[in-house]
Symmetry: D2
Subunit: 310 residues, 4 copies
């Protein structure tokens, strides 16, 4: 792995250089206006290590919409709150379907395949809504605490846009409710879910916030136990099989790290025992993963030999 942090800084900058222009191969998410208006030319990458280094290159301090990366944090909160009861209501199998398919949910009688497809994340949002009196505030507080930054905020423009285009997620939630697998009122669940997705954070903040997953549940900066070692293992496992939508298998095959992407263009990757990588560039490939973000993580993993599959 990595020997020298100043070499790493140089590596990040070199990698960024190779990606100039590659963003043209993707498309910025346009299903909501608030995302469509982000510049396709922004790109950044950050690495945080469990021994305390946090570096970055490019636009690594610019906040962006974390979108589905929020599913990782929501999952950790729900695991902490209700324990193994969660796994009676959501499975941990890869989905083998495009990320928001309603078909599989019907087949499996309202039990989502895993917490990283939309249905599963809505289930998690239901757990949070039902078990916290002010779940949105609790989520934001959790994010601020992990990142060590009280300025982390919810982008209200994105939130309103999500709400206005949330019919498919509403369909998923009502379908689960018809199988008695949602407890709260659907509008509340959706409101929590879209709030999560609308949090704005930078590469640097995300990389720092997820160090506990690379460190058996312990945040090496605050020395707080964010979750158990067993749960950190479990989250990494699900990230490995299901974190990159229907490209998860290919990402494991060619990169080999637990990772999660969001349609805001962010990609995070956990390197167990070492640290966290976060890359960002808005244009997405056909699977909904950032073209340049994926390339940056992939390039760094190859350069440093980070794969968990050797």
């Amino acid at each position: 792995m990595l020997k020298n942090i100043s070499n790493l800084q140089a590596t990040l900058e070199k990698l960024l250089t190779t990606q100039q222009g590659m963003n043209a191969e993707g498309q910025v998410a346009d299903y909501i206006p608030a995302l469509a208006s982000v510049s396709p030319n922004l790109m950044g990458v950050s690495v945080a290590t469990i021994d305390g280094n946090v570096i970055g290159a490019g636009d690594y301090q610019v906040p962006f919409s974390i979108q589905s990366i929020s599913k990782v944090f929501g999952l950790v909160m729900a695991m902490n709150r209700i324990g193994d009861e969660l796994w009676q209501r959501v499975n941990m199998e890869p989905s083998g379907q495009p990320f928001n398919s309603i078909i599989q949910l019907e087949w499996e009688q309202g039990i989502p395949r895993n917490p990283f497809i939309n249905a599963g994340a809505l289930l998690v949002a239901d757990v949070l809504t039902s078990h916290f009196s002010t779940s949105k505030l609790a989520f934001l507080t959790f994010m601020r605490s992990l990142a060590g930054d009280e300025h982390i905020y919810i982008d209200n423009n994105v939130y309103q846009s999500e709400l206005a285009h949330g019919n498919r997620n509403a369909a998923l939630a009502y379908l689960m409710k018809s199988f008695s697998n949602i407890q709260a009122e659907i509008p509340e669940v959706l409101s929590h879910y879209f709030t999560q997705c609308s949090v704005a954070m930078s590469c640097q903040q995300l990389a720092k916030s997820l160090l506990f997953l690379a460190n058996k549940g312990l945040d090496p900066i605050s020395q707080h136990n964010i979750c158990t070692a067993r749960d950190a293992h479990r989250v990494n496992a699900i990230l490995s099989t299901s974190g990159m939508y229907d490209q998860s298998g290919e990402f494991a095959f060619s990169v080999g790290l637990p990772a999660k992407s969001g349609v805001g263009g962010g990609v995070i990757a956990i390197v167990p025992g070492y640290g966290v990588i976060c890359a960002w560039s808005p244009p997405l490939n056909t699977f909904g993963n950032s073209v340049v973000g994926t390339n940056l993580v992939s390039g760094l993993a190859a350069e440093l030999g980070l794969s968990i599959y050797h």
Copy 2:
């Protein structure tokens, strides 16, 4: 990880003891008579390490039908033979469906989701049938060479049984042929595939044979390069997302090793940089994975802290 090989021997024996009677929770595969007649009480476990140790406990030297574990070896042979062309014809995504479902194959226009579902393994069998003049002999020779044992054999009783119950596999193969994704004649492809599945090997032989996957493609015993480091990585990645049928996600979640099971009751698990575990016990759970075999691998991984997700 493991410090001391004599401790490991004691650990294997202790683990076996904990599993006495647990085999009653599964059912021996009965879709073919030749498998249904195997004693449900046999159980064994073996560990081979890349530094040369091979130990075991219980019935670890008794040969059994390797069945779908053969898919790993067939895949390596096909990757070696045709290179990346293979990935034009088979995908590397988890399937999210029971292992032999024909529905997904139809949806994806004759391209199997991955090489470890039956459709994918038949595709691999087609590659071998088409590219080797005597593919069955080539496969057997490969297995004998990897295990360092010229006595490895094909169980003809199992082979005939498979042939007589091969209608679903024939359906999968003809469907792929209708999408022009099979080149050889179907009866030849099926004959090769059932031959592979009918190879009989012991836990000890399987563990030794797969060391190259834990060692970047290099067999540490023979010092032969069995495949490239990149391909060893890739096989481990697909094993991690798709090796345990529709329980692959749960296995990653709770155990955390690249692994493959077969309906003969065998389970192999790769520990990159360390070695290979192979456990065997014929009774299967509802997913088609050996109850005791899975428990043995799981127990050993927990005991020794082997998970790749930490």
Copy 3:
């Protein structure tokens, strides 16, 4: 066909006798409490002819929840209101799926297969909600006018029960909205839909109300043109292929009349050029069709040689 109306009365009474006890083979719908509480022993049958006779036997004057039979009337109102534009938004093909499956809707990109599956009926409800200022009142007025009875009412107990168990229908509606195939607000669409379903009518009233479908669109009693001859033809065609849920093919095969059932236990059948049969008995078979209701229509069709397939 039928020669003599007093013979027909005797036939109806004889048929009812043969069905005593047969209701024990079905189950009263229990997905909502308001339906579960109806007596399973009520049964009735009525025939209305286009030459003006209306007769019946058993509980043929007892009102019951018309449920999905309301889909026929809603469809006629929507056809009258927006004409062929309707067929851009809903198809007219048999569904080949259980009646409320969401899978097909996803496959066909938000276009329901036909107006008699729930998704299609919700689409029709959206048309009515969007095109009438007070669609619920308009529906009730239409029903009262067709039956010639100002006392026809909405069973508020049923309506509230439906609303409280409407999650699956909400899922279907939101899914269609996500494909931009719903224009009104979902709660309004559901409210209209459940209102329709909650209308209470007797066999006699339903038989009279549908005479226009047996008479090329003209109500022979009021002499009003309820719809065009072409639309009467079309409704009868869809009833023939899709009116009896996933038993529609078998009903055509063994009975041979355009028909529609509802989970309240009602069944209506159109005999083009002759009249309408309506039978009622709450216990349902596994397809959701009234056991005795189906038997009564079937028996009468056989007795009188009414099948359109000869």
Copy 4:
């Protein structure tokens, strides 16, 4: 209905005139070379009535490949041979899927939805293969007898072409065999099936051959009972819900006759109590139905008021 046979002749000729050039809107079937080579400009129509008239216009005496129209005759033979036992092995529900989809067959555990989708026709072919010592000859003899023409033949060029492109049908057959719903050897079943499809007949011959379905099972020419009145009813019912592939609902909606099409460009329609229409023109629409053939049947049904739905 029709009053005067010389008027009918004029009507047929007028209808043909309206269709000149309309064939350009379709595509001749090209999945096998033997069909692709047929001239797209041939078109003909014939009407046979139960009172003995047989007339036609255009190329109504030119033999063409009857393809799936053969499914009607095969079904009648199988019903006659094994009676209601047939309906344990094939259903009579519309399919709601493209005609050769393997998905539904998997869902319904090897029981085809109806005898007119390919899986169902292969099931029927299995019945014939298993219950006749020389089923192909028996089929040909049946066809010659119905048409009253010993010269009816099997087009060997088409047959060989079908065999060479039969992989999807083989997949369907093997899948059913895996569910124990096929008794004979698959190559024999396929050989029978492709033989049936390869029979060449003219519009005139087909119209005459099917008169028994319009006449309660009795062939009005030979005065032979070809099947029971009940079975004629049943065949007409299945034709009405499932005879025109995934356009069956629309055909009922707009035309309203039991009908069957084949990819050779033929369309037959039964008019119960009156006669049979057969039209032919090779170019097909996207559903696999003859563009002009469908138009001719539709035009005639409208002109003469033949619909069974009034």
